[in-house]
């Protein structure tokens, strides 16, 4: 009979053996058939080669960024060659000030980003309203109140929630939240809610990003040293005082950074929003009506069968660069807040 531990050790030993065997060919040849100096030279070359291969792997990520930026710029801003980029045909002024988004190839096309932008921000804002209290509450509960056992049970639940694919949340919003929660609720108030609406999209995106806020905030809250809490308790604080007046303020920079990251995630969220919010680019602030977000438009536009260099297709890149710049700015801001306002305790 093997005990569990022995089986584990065997497993890990066989893993290691496999890796060693792979390297064995070379070492046999060199130890038996070669003078030392030759084997050393081979080793050096071998090492340099591997180093370069791995360097190329690491450099690939920089290349990816460069490629993204190039693709976006060359299709949206300035196109080398005979193609014409989006902003060479449509003025930036129209893009930033017009309130109509009607990306057709024929006459009557309008390229004003505002309907898409308000749609996106509306969904992201509703998502924040849902996820900030929920995420922060969960983070405080898990770090300040929950017993270790309870925590071990709650953390996987949040991880599962974070791991559920975006399309599933879209389905949930469209087939459950809208008809079974929002419709009766607003029906009581005498308000009409359309099948596709920003509110349900915002709610599910909020549910999606809650685990992100919870886990990032919990990390920074746990990093607040115990001595601070104990000092507060010694002064007669209640648990609420300690959580809300000592721990959360001490971890505020990290918490704010997590809010911003969640917001940027909500802005970039695609499938749930494309399903739940619909595809009608309306310039409206009414969350009970449908709207189209930037990501939703991009999915919609790529599915169309217009020619690759048509203006309707190119508008996708203009929206793409707006989305990229927006999320990048928020992410950078989040990182900056994290570094700039971090409280360091000894």
């Amino acid at each position: 009979m093997y005990s569990g531990l022995e089986v584990d050790q065997q497993w890990s030993a066989s893993c290691q053996l496999l890796l060693v065997r792979l390297g064995f060919g070379l070492s046999f040849v060199e130890s038996v058939l070669m003078p030392t100096w030759a084997s050393q030279r081979i080793h050096r070359r071998h090492e340099t080669l591997i180093r370069w291969v791995l360097f190329v792997c690491a450099a690939l990520s920089v290349l990816t960024t460069a490629a993204i930026i190039y693709v976006l710029l060359s299709n949206a801003v300035y196109a080398p060659g005979e193609k014409t980029a989006f902003f060479e045909r449509v003025s930036l002024w129209q893009f930033l000030t017009s309130g109509r988004w009607k990306p057709t190839d024929g006459a009557g096309a309008h390229f004003g980003i505002w309907p898409l932008l308000t749609g996106t921000l509306q969904v992201a804002l509703i998502a924040s309203l849902v996820s900030i209290p929920a995420g922060l509450g969960a983070a405080v509960y898990m770090s300040e109140y929950a017993q270790p056992r309870e925590r071990e049970f709650l953390k996987p639940v949040l991880e599962i929630l974070a791991g559920i694919p975006s399309v599933v949340y879209g389905f949930f919003a469209l087939k459950f939240i809208t008809p079974w929660v929002l419709k009766p609720l607003f029906g009581l108030l005498g308000l009409e809610i359309s099948i596709f609406n920003s509110l349900s999209a915002g709610i599910v995106v909020g549910i999606m990003v809650t685990p992100l806020i919870a886990s990032l905030s919990e990390d920074v809250i746990r990093a607040v040293p115990r001595s601070l809490r104990e000092a507060a308790y010694a002064l007669g604080s209640t648990r609420f005082d300690v959580s809300a007046r000592v721990v959360v303020p001490a971890a505020l920079s990290g918490i704010l950074a997590s809010f911003l990251l969640a917001f940027s995630r909500a802005v970039g969220e695609t499938m749930a929003v494309a399903i739940a919010a619909g595809g009608n680019p309306l310039l409206t602030l009414n969350p009970l009506r449908g709207s189209q977000t930037m990501t939703g438009f991009m999915v919609h536009a790529s599915a169309g069968d217009s020619a690759a260099d048509s203006i309707s297709r190119m508008s996708m890149y203009a929206v793409g660069i707006t989305l990229f710049v927006m999320t990048l700015t928020i992410n950078l801001l989040s990182g900056w807040i994290m570094r700039r306002y971090r409280e360091v305790y000894q």
Partner: protein, 352 residues
């Protein structure tokens, strides 16, 4: 005085010197208790949401999930519609994605953690990596659509059966006619690899960082080269951590639809990549595997998106979509269980 505040300070005796009267203290304690219940409520609400989500999907699928759902293709008729093409599509997509992203991701992590010196270039790579992780997946889709798809179209025209290449100026080799599609598994996997690479790299870096320096030093002291140390000591030691991170990234690739929508995969498919429709066929016609990377495909989340959007007055595609979601969630659960097992085993066999 009985004070209810639980945990560290059970039975606090003198809180009176910060607050005034008894009633004020009681009020503060009540506030504290409400706050705890509020926090507990929102935390357990997430559990409730998860339960409602799963129940509503099961309720919607209502008996639609059956063997015939798993083994039939798309159909206009909701009662005959199945997820077979999506299952195989996702399988091949994930296989290729793993094939691209694991070596490149782990290789980058090894370079950044074990070999790189702290130069400005390395700092650029590190900062860039954390920013890439925050780029929405749909933006990678644009990259795939614009950079990878034309590549496929080039290949397509090269292998249309009319081209020939000169070999060393001696004879002309007629190129085969291959069925190459522009929305193929290959570019899907290339795009998806870019989406998950940052997370693979970051997770692998953390796993490598957890290996104590003493192991490296000991190996180097015994005369091993740097690469031998990495290959025989550091990588085996960090394997469980890397595996966990990789599996979690892979499960993200399984559920991701946006980049695939962008590169234009099929939303309605009545064939599987390479024409392989059952595991038995893999054994009887293994040659078909070669056609898989160049074949068009669809993936489970893409199909689910399509079914959810079907304008259907009687809502019969809703049941199809819900059944598709159950299959997708079952696949994800299996993959995540694998990650959990790896993590559990690793937790028990730490040796330092």
């Amino acid at each position: 005085m009985s004070v209810v505040s639980g945990g560290v300070t059970d039975g606090v005796v003198s809180v009176s010197f910060t607050a005034g009267s008894d009633s004020q203290i009681r009020q503060r304690l009540r506030l504290s208790r409400y706050f705890m219940w509020l926090c507990r409520l929102v935390t357990y609400a997430s559990l409730g949401v998860l339960a409602v989500l799963l129940l509503s999907i099961m309720w919607n699928s209502a008996g639609r999930l059956s063997w015939s759902f798993l083994s039939s293709h798309y159909s206009m008729h909701p009662d005959r519609c199945g997820i077979l093409a999506g299952l195989w599509g996702t399988f091949w997509l994930v296989l290729l994605t793993a094939g691209f992203s694991i070596p490149i991701g782990v290789g980058s992590a090894v370079y950044l953690e074990e070999m790189a010196k702290d130069t400005w270039l390395m700092r650029v790579i590190r900062v860039n990596l954390s920013n890439l992780a925050g780029v929405p997946s749909i933006v990678y889709g644009i990259l795939g659509l614009t950079a990878f798809r034309p590549l496929m179209i080039q290949l397509q025209s090269l292998f249309d059966g009319r081209h020939a290449v000169n070999v060393l100026g001696m004879f002309r080799l007629r190129l085969l006619k291959l069925d190459i599609y522009d929305g193929s598994v290959l570019i899907g996997a290339m795009t998806m690899s870019l989406v998950i690479l940052p997370t693979v790299i970051i997770a692998s870096q953390e796993a490598l960082r957890a290996v104590p320096a003493s192991i490296r030093v000991a190996s180097l002291a015994l005369g091993a080269t740097r690469w031998q140390t990495i290959w025989r000591q550091v990588l085996p030691a960090s394997l469980p951590g890397i595996a966990t991170g990789v599996i979690l990234s892979i499960s993200r690739a399984i559920g991701e639809a946006a980049p695939l929508m962008m590169i234009g995969v099929l939303t309605v498919a009545s064939m599987c990549p390479g024409g392989l429709e059952s595991p038995g066929q893999l054994l009887s016609e293994p040659g078909r595997v070669l056609a898989v990377p160049f074949d068009q495909f669809t993936a489970m989340p893409v199909e689910i998106y399509d079914w959810s959007k079907q304008p259907d007055p009687e809502d019969r595609f809703t049941a199809v979509a819900a059944a598709g979601i159950l299959v997708l969630l079952a696949v994800l659960l299996t993959v995540n269980a694998a990650a959990m097992i790896v993590r559990y085993r690793a937790g028990r066999q730490l040796r330092w």
